[in-house]
């Protein structure tokens, strides 16, 4: 039986969030174009972002949070669309490891996103319609370049720290390679310097699911009044499995039935794990744009820091002044510890000041978003040490 992925959010509502987000907003006028790797100048464009805490008079306590593929700028506040808590409230907030009483936290929605920063769901000023597939293909470098323009606009020359998991970690690494003097300390978590063939493969399955939905209409679903929620939900279901682990799924669901004693001998969601995945799919389509999913997964696929440095990763971080803390999780098979070790290896070869911790957990890739006391202790300790070196008072 086909899953019901609902119609919770009207496409028009989502389009409104893309153009007029309930967030802080900076617009870059036509005289400040964003030069993309695709060779196109994006202009005008806008960046939606959230901030927490206060920037000190020296402007030296800023922490940039880079969100993951399906995240957004709502790190530590109620999400305006889903009405759920921010995605990293366990990490960011007053007295938390990233302490907003001490640091000024900024999180921008990524370029290509759908929560207010210019992306395929935004209105194309030359047509008055959503960009759709007319939007240029992006790279992680483009996303970071846009963030650098936001920091310029905010008058922040260098950030005290930068943290992100997964695609957020890719942005952190790209920042450290592109603008080493602007990053005092960096926390790349559960990430890699290049997207692996396996990860590209998972993304391709997700994209094909979206495109196979007849309501996708070559990306013109806003104009045609359709919504490819079924395809996007299936993409999300597939990806979500890769964020967990066999052990975590087994612990959570085992082979238990959902609200029934016996199998129904049908294709209903008999198993709890099926019901859970369907829920993940349907709640995702409420807040996310299908084309954004295509563009951002593509940006991740293209990411390969070493390729930008003649294949020598160490050159990406040569003589870097940044203090690094690389963190991985034992059960993360999407961005395994070996990927983090490759980062550490390259940083060591470049003489960087690097810490590296692997955290034991069965929660898989998603562990960076979850309650992991050891993760919090490590982030807190690393930032304390960096704050001392930066001369930040308590």
């Amino acid at each position: 039986m086909k899953a019901d992925f609902g119609t919770a959010l009207d496409p028009a509502d989502r389009a409104r969030e893309a153009d007029r987000p309930r967030s802080l907003l900076t617009r870059f006028s036509p005289d400040q174009p964003l030069r993309l790797d695709a060779g196109i100048d994006l202009s005008p464009f806008q960046i939606a972002y959230q901030t927490y805490g206060t920037l000190n008079p020296e402007r030296s306590n800023a922490v940039l949070i880079c969100h993951a593929l399906t995240g957004d700028q709502h790190v530590a506040n109620l999400h305006p669309v889903t009405q759920k808590p921010g995605w990293w409230e366990t990490m960011v907030g007053p007295g938390r490891a990233i302490d907003t009483e001490r640091y000024f936290v900024i999180c921008p929605n990524v370029l290509g996103g759908c929560m207010g920063t210019t992306g395929p769901a935004s209105t194309n000023p030359s047509t008055g319609m959503p960009w759709g597939l007319d939007f240029p293909v992006l790279t992680i470098r483009d996303i970071v370049r846009a963030q650098a323009m936001l920091l310029d606009h905010l008058g922040i020359e260098s950030v005290f720290s930068m943290a992100g998991g997964s695609m957020g970690g890719m942005q952190v690494l790209q920042w450290c390679a592109s603008y080493p003097q602007r990053v005092f300390s960096a926390l790349p978590i559960a990430t890699s310097t290049r997207h692996s063939a396996q990860n590209i493969a998972f993304h391709e399955v997700g994209r094909q699911a979206v495109m196979a939905d007849p309501e996708w209409r070559q990306g013109r679903y806003f104009a045609e009044g359709t919504n490819p929620r079924r395809g996007l939900a299936v993409a999300r279901m597939g990806n979500h499995i890769t964020y967990l682990s066999d052990a975590a799924l087994h612990r959570k669901f085992g082979r238990r039935f959902q609200d029934r004693e016996n199998p129904t001998f049908s294709f209903d969601a008999d198993f709890q794990v099926e019901s859970y995945l369907r829920h993940q799919g349907s709640s995702f389509v409420e807040r996310f744009d299908a084309n954004s999913y295509l563009y951002l997964t593509r940006a991740m696929d293209y990411f390969d820091l070493a390729a930008d440095c003649d294949g020598v990763l160490a050159n990406a971080f040569k003589d870097t002044p940044t203090r690094f803390c690389v963190i991985s999780f034992t059960s993360d098979w999407l961005f395994p510890t070996s990927d983090s070790r490759a980062i550490v290896h390259a940083l060591n070869a470049g003489g960087a000041r690097v810490s590296f911790a692997e955290i034991v957990t069965d929660k898989g890739h998603d562990a960076f978003l979850l309650e992991e006391p050891e993760l919090f202790a490590i982030v807190r300790g690393f930032l304390e040490g960096a704050a001392k070196a930066r001369g930040l008072s308590r």
């Binding site: 203090r323 803390c325 690389v326 550490v344 290896h345 060591n348 070869a349 003489g351 000041r353 690097v354 810490s355 590296f356 911790a357 692997e358 955290i359 034991v360 050891e374 202790a377 490590i378 807190r380 300790g381 690393f382 304390e384 040490g385 960096a386 001392k388």
Partner: protein, 220 residues
């Protein structure tokens, strides 16, 4: 292999100096020039790195095998990575550090000679501290007791000890000759943490020193 648990295994009941720091670590710290760049291989819970940062103002890095030790170090703000002295030292470029330290680590490695050679390659100086298996108390246990020695500092039964390559001061000097290391300084500590007389002959150190600390450099 580096230390497997939080604290250096060999130093479970170590003698401590006036400030609470382990005497052998104080001896190591005294050999390090202020402000130097230091790699502590097998840094345990980071006690030496912290001591070096506080008393010598060094730029310290650490490698530690146990995840528990690493995570404790990072949470203290120390730059420590999880790694294995036997396999991961080859990743470091030549002359990357002023000092590479093996504090109570060497006897727990699988290939002490290779580890020492890497130490001399990566660092302009090397500092090695280890328990002296030539100490009279240890000799006596083997001679009269007929069993593998166990002391306060070396409390493990032979079948569970992480220390797989014990040596005497005499043996270590021989290794220094084999790998072409120059001995710049050597200190032997007695059971009470006191340094033995400087002008004593080597056989005397080898008999009465419970711990030894060597400052080495590459023979140019």
């Amino acid at each position: 292999m580096l230390t497997r648990i939080k604290h250096d295994l060999t130093m479970a009941e170590a003698v401590r100096g006036p400030g609470g720091a382990r005497v052998d670590l104080l001896v190591v710290a005294e050999m390090v020039a202020p402000g130097a760049k230091v790699l502590d291989v097998g840094c345990g819970d980071g006690e030496l790195l912290r001591l070096l940062a506080e008393t010598r103002g060094v730029d310290g890095r650490g490698i530690e095998l146990s995840r528990e030790g690493v995570n404790e170090c990072v949470a203290k703000g120390l730059a420590v990575i999880q790694g294995d002295a036997d396999t991961d030292l080859s990743d470091y470029p030549n002359d990357a550090f002023d000092y590479v330290i093996l504090s109570q680590t060497l006897q727990a490695t699988r290939h002490p000679r290779i580890v020492i050679e890497h130490m001399l390659r990566i660092g302009r100086h090397g500092i090695v501290s280890f328990p002296n298996f030539g100490h009279w108390g240890i000799r006596l246990q083997l001679l009269l007791g007929g069993h593998m020695p166990r002391t306060d500092n070396l409390p493990y039964a032979w079948w569970e000890s992480p220390n797989i390559h014990f040596c005497t001061i005499k043996d270590f000097r021989q290794l220094c000759g084999v790998v072409g290391a120059r001995m710049e300084k050597a200190v032997a500590l007695n059971a009470w943490g006191g340094a033995l007389r400087f002008n004593a002959p080597w056989w005397f150190w080898n008999l009465l020193g419970e711990q030894a600390v060597f400052l080495l450099s590459r023979r140019s």
